[in-house]
Amino acid sequence: MSIVVDFRDVVAVAGSFPVLTGVDVRIDAGELVLLSGANGAGKTSLLRACAGLQPVSAGSAEVLGYDLRVDRRAPRRYIGLLGHENCLYRDLRVREHIEFRASVAGLKMSDASDSLARVGLDDRLWSAPVAALSAGQRRKLAIASIIVSRPRLWLLDEPHAALDSEGRLTMNSIMEEVASLGATVVFASHDKELSEQLASRVITMSNGRLTEDSGAS
């Protein structure tokens, strides 16, 4: 199996605060990894470092075979990142938004409509402005925007946040589906029940490094 994320002793600094203090982790293709840990443990920073958004200041970091210390941009086209924020333009309509994301990823609109249905967003919301959506609906739209770009590595920061119980189950089935198709999913969640039954591997972080790893190789 090919290694998707290969971090060795990674240190990362945001401002003047060390957010990652020596992360050692390797993740294979097709894994479904849960990142667990208290607020401020470094889950978000690890996900952002994998996406090449958080610069790495020490150690070696490779994602999908690209050395992040040489080029942070290279692997991004294969990565889908769902952050705390949804990355939505408030003034666009749902349809325009998904159109924009699809065309940015070089895809047709037909793919986009499928992804909206997949996350359970009603057709009737298509012409609604993003600003009018509820928090949960926005989260779903953000997830749909990621499905559109068909990433090989999914980095999801609290994908369950703001979703209702049905939405959480849908989210889980999406993660399971893409992992079964060979994509890699790394997600952080505080919803222990929903996450642990889903994940093939649980990584616990504390103070910017790994403290427990159920699938350490």
């Binding site: 240190v11 600094v13 945001a14 401002g15 003047s16 605060f17 060390p18 203090t21 020596g22 667990s36 840990g37 208290a38 607020n39 443990a41 610069p55 505080h190 222990k192 616990t204 972080m205 504390s206 103070n207 910017g208 490094r209 403290t211 427990e212």
Partner: protein, 261 residues
């Protein structure tokens, strides 16, 4: 008291700069003597010509400093990427030189305005050079403001370097457009105070002053460079301390079942 031996990198004064500092002081003292006492008053401008020995070297130094900033910014962007320290010495040099450049641009403006008052009868003329200089001053003040913002040092350095280069291509544009604006406009009114004939003693005094002020500027840039280095060392040590503090807090993992928020 720790010995300075072997730790000279962390000191802002070394024997060399100490010597340079004394040299600069002595040179400035002689410069004051030459400029204020020895050299004769100008036939046209009288005593006011003594401003020349400050004003002209100051703008030379300012231009020189900004040139240093531009070159080191370029080197930082081009060479910095692959180096282990990301070429941060170029960044430090650029920052130190820009600060000294802004200081001397300020000196140029103040001495120029005072000089203008006694020779032209007015503090400010919309003269091409004055206008260009004031825009230069504001531009590099902006550069320093950008440098002061908190960010990852390499990120901040790169942003500042790009700004320095844009500012640099802007200098000739500003100069050219302002110059042209004034020549189109009022051709006569500029020749109010005639330039002094710079010959003999005045010429040598001016040249000497330029050398003396250069010593001062080099001393300032060197020390500022070292202080920036010290600031960086302090930040790095704080970071190392923070990392080891975080690492030592590692056990036992308190986080596992934390569900808040």
């Amino acid at each position: 008291m720790t010995s300075a031996k072997g730790r000279s990198v962390k000191m802002t004064a070394t024997p060399f700069t100490r010597a340079l500092g004394f040299l600069a002081l002595a040179a400035v003292a002689v410069m004051a003597l030459l400029g204020l006492v020895v050299s004769p008053p100008d036939v046209v401008q009288g005593e006011a010509v003594r401003m020349l020995y400050l004003h002209v070297p100051a703008i030379w130094i300012a231009y020189g400093s900004f040139a240093v900033t531009s070159v080191s910014s370029l080197l930082f962007l081009r060479r910095g990427k692959r180096r282990e320290d990301k070429g941060r010495h170029y960044d430090r040099l650029g920052g130190a030189a820009a600060e000294v450049g802004v200081l001397f641009t300020g000196v140029t403006l103040i001495t120029g305005m005072l000089w203008g008052k006694v020779t032209w009868g007015t503090y400010w003329q919309w003269d091409a050079r004055l206008t260009t200089t004031v825009l230069l001053f504001v531009t590099y003040l902006g550069y320093l403001a950008l440098r002061r913002l908190p960010a990852d040092p390499v990120v901040r350095g790169r942003r500042a370097a790009i700004m320095a280069l844009i500012s640099f291509i802007n200098v000739p544009i500003v100069h050219y457009s302002v110059d042209w604006w004034r020549t189109l406009h009022q051709k006569a009114s500029l020749s109010v105070g005639r330039r002094p004939e710079i010959t003999g003693e005045m010429y040598w005094t001016l040249l000497y002053s330029a050398v003396a002020v250069t010593f001062v500027a080099v001393w300032l840039v060197t020390h500022r460079y070292r202080v920036i280095r010290l600031e960086e060392i302090r930040d790095e040590e704080m970071l190392t301390a923070l990392i080891s503090q975080r690492v030592s807090q590692d056990l036992p993992p308190v986080s596992d079942g934390d569900f808040d928020e």
